[in-house]
């Protein structure tokens, strides 16, 4: 049975983090309506991927590390970074986790092992590979998780990095969150394996690396697969490619327009571009957050009241993060020229 060996405390932690991530992302999305103009540029939400994110992070030790894509809000929320600092960053305030320098796509919390992101598809994969190299020679048994999407697996950087990691037996786990879309393109339109009906995990064969596909909507299944990969890495046996099947419930990101036109989230591309309402409705029915909540309640791990309390607590916490963000000061303009060099 998936998740064997996880006690009530751990299972509760998993549901709590999934709920907190969902609530955080809902509040980010809500900011476009409640506080128009506060979020500028482009933001990408992880609603729908909570089980994959939390199931993966549940396998980590405190001194392990991770790097992700620009769809990065969920990870620091689960790691324990103060959501106030995260929201303030997304709002460009000096109290943000990056002091307003990075914004939504570039959250970082080095104190918790979240070493950074890249806004360029696939280019964070070499970064994570380098972090794993450092971990290897530091000899403290640390492991690095590298998160990226299915679109990144067509980038040369993906291939170049996985080859080296396999050759050097680097302590890294490559987690590909396959949500079947790259903005408005479906994976089978751009990937020879997907076009042939194969799971993308087969790409691991090119690197003599184990490749495994897992239901990214089931946090315990993800936990099992990622833990095994983490232990393999920690034992010095090298990397693994994990293909985690998820469905993102929001569009790729908010619409892209020049200033003057209000930003908002359009419908998911399944509907807006492909007219495939049924695919989207099915994904909503399989929403991993209520699904896991139901599982814990029906198997008696949590009472409905305990589950409700988790949800309420998350709502309160993230509402406070929004308030904190809008009330936070902006950086001084001439702060712009700091941090150019260390």
């Amino acid at each position: 049975m998936a998740g064997n060996g996880l006690d009530k405390e751990r299972l509760t932690w998993i549901l709590t983090q999934m709920t907190r991530i969902r609530e955080f992302e809902e509040r980010v999305k809500g900011t476009f309506e409640e506080h128009p103009g506060v979020i500028r540029g482009h933001t990408h939400l992880a609603d729908g991927a909570e089980a994959s994110i939390v199931g993966s992070l549940a396998a980590l030790r405190d001194d392990d590390q991770l790097l992700t894509t620009y769809r990065c809000h969920g990870y620091p929320v689960a790691l324990g970074t103060d959501p106030k600092a995260l929201m303030a960053e997304i709002y460009g305030r000096s109290t943000g986790i990056c002091k307003g320098y990075g914004g939504s796509m570039h959250l970082t919390d080095v104190s918790r092992g979240f070493m950074g992101t890249s806004g360029i598809v696939g280019q964070g994969i070499p970064h994570a590979t380098g972090a794993a190299y450092a971990a290897q020679i530091r000899k403290k048994g640390q492991v690095v998780l590298c998160f990226f999407g299915d679109g990144a697996s067509k980038q040369g950087a993906f291939h170049e990095s996985l080859n080296i990691a396999s050759l050097w037996k680097l302590p890294v786990v490559y987690i590909m969150e396959n949500n079947n879309y790259n903005v408005v393109t479906r994976t089978e339109q751009e990937d020879a394996n997907a076009a042939a009906g194969e799971p993308l995990a087969v790409k691991a064969k090119a690197f003599s690396m184990p490749g495994v596909t897992v239901d990214g909507g089931d946090p315990l299944a993800v936990y099992d697969v990622v833990s095994a990969a983490v232990e393999r890495a920690r034992a010095g046996e090298g990397p693994t490619l994990v293909e985690s099947l998820v469905y993102r419930l929001s569009a790729h990101g908010n619409i892209i327009v020049p200033p003057g036109i209000p930003l908002h989230f359009p419908e998911h591309e399944a509907i807006e571009v492909f007219g495939n309402v049924e695919e989207y409705e099915a994904a909503k029915r399989g929403d991993p957050v209520p699904r896991f909540r139901s599982k814990l309640v029906t198997d008696g791990t949590l009472t409905p009241e305990e589950a409700d309390a988790i949800a309420q607590s998350a709502r309160d916490e993230m509402a406070a993060a929004v308030t904190y963000g809008v009330e936070s000061p902006f950086p001084a303009p001439d702060d712009a020229v700091k941090y150019v060099y260390a």
Binding site: Y101, G103, S104, A152, N182, D335
Partner: protein
């Protein structure tokens, strides 16, 4: 009866469409285009000439070079200038060199269409102005239109040119409307435009900063300063003759560029004038560039970094009465 004005982006797409109609060897491909049957380019030209590609800039650009050498004229949709960086080898070390190293046997008529300068909260990796990296690359041409009409004319010229062209279009100008000639409209590469005539000072603007320069010129006119504004329109080859002629008339030069100083076209223009037009100058050249920093996310900091009308006006006052160093 003149037609309605077109937005900048519409003018560019009109040029691509009209050239594809005129010449069946023109291709248009890139990421996230033509993924559904009702895409207008796909409907007009079919799935051979219009395709979606995966995120593989290196392969996309390299493939464009190979198809060009074999007789096609690909236009590659790259979206953002920074997305070329992962494939720089193909842009500055392959596409541009083929004609030369083959002793003239082959040519590479490729257009790399790349948006730039999206300083609207897009943060450090999506907002750069990097055309400076592509100037001075032998064999490569660089176009930077500032108006919808020029956008159409330069795209047409770029597609017809037998050399690789990097076509930079500014994201903040995307929906700026303007009069755009219907039908065939060519703006030759390498030809600057005098956007406003004047006699007291020459202001050279590039892309988005042309509009800033024109606004500054209005402000200055109210103070009795007559500014001439020049838009180079192409950065490689650069029309230094037009700029030098203007500086000969005014004796004073301000160059406004959204790039960082040492990566700017402004530095190149200033060097050209200093070396070829020194005797015309009555004051040192002033550069108004972005400060030397990655574009920060937060709005007040972002504004602080960039050129604006006030900085341009200050620079003009500097060249009119230079203070001692």
């Amino acid at each position: 009866m003149a037609r309605e004005q077109l937005p900048y982006i519409g003018a560019i797409l009109e040029a691509i469409r009209e050239e594809m109609q005129r010449d069946e060897t023109v291709l248009y491909y890139g990421q996230n285009i033509a993924t559904t049957e009702n895409d207008p380019f796909l409907q007009a030209f079919g799935p051979d000439r219009v395709r979606v590609t995966p995120i593989s800039e290196t392969a996309e650009i390299g493939m464009a070079v190979g198809a060009a050498v074999a007789g096609y004229r690909p236009v590659v949709e790259l979206y953002m200038a920074e997305f070329m960086l992962v494939a720089m080898d193909q842009v500055v070390n392959e596409a541009n060199r083929f004609h030369y190293m083959s002793g003239g046997q082959v040519k590479v008529p490729v257009v790399l269409k790349a948006g730039y300068g999206f300083t609207a909260g897009w943060a450090g990796q999506h907002t750069g102005t990097i055309y400076g990296m592509f100037m001075g690359v032998p064999g490569l041409k660089v176009a930077v239109p500032s108006t919808p009409a020029d956008a159409k004319g330069l795209m047409t010229a770029s597609i017809r040119d037998d050399n690789p062209v990097v076509f930079f279009h500014h994201y903040l100008l995307t929906l700026e409307h303007g009069d755009v000639p219907e039908g065939e409209h060519v703006v030759p590469l390498g030809q600057a435009n005098v956007a406003r005539e004047g006699s007291d000072v020459t202001i050279v603007g590039i892309g988005w900063t042309v509009g800033k320069a024109l606004a500054a010129a209005e402000q200055l006119a109210a103070d009795g300063v007559s500014a001439e504004v020049i838009d180079p329109r192409t950065l490689a080859p650069l029309d230094t003759a037009t700029i030098l002629a203007s500086v000969e008339k005014t004796g004073r030069l301000v160059v406004v560029d959204q790039s960082t100083r040492h990566g700017s076209a402004a530095a190149v223009i200033a060097a050209e004038v200093a070396s070829e037009g020194f005797s015309s100058l009555k004051a040192p050249v002033q550069l108004v560039c972005a400060l030397d920093a990655t574009i920060p996310y937060s709005e007040p900091m972002e504004e602080y970094i960039l050129p604006n009308e006030a900085k341009i006006v200050d620079a003009v006052h500097q060249v009119l009465s230079p203070t001692a160093a």
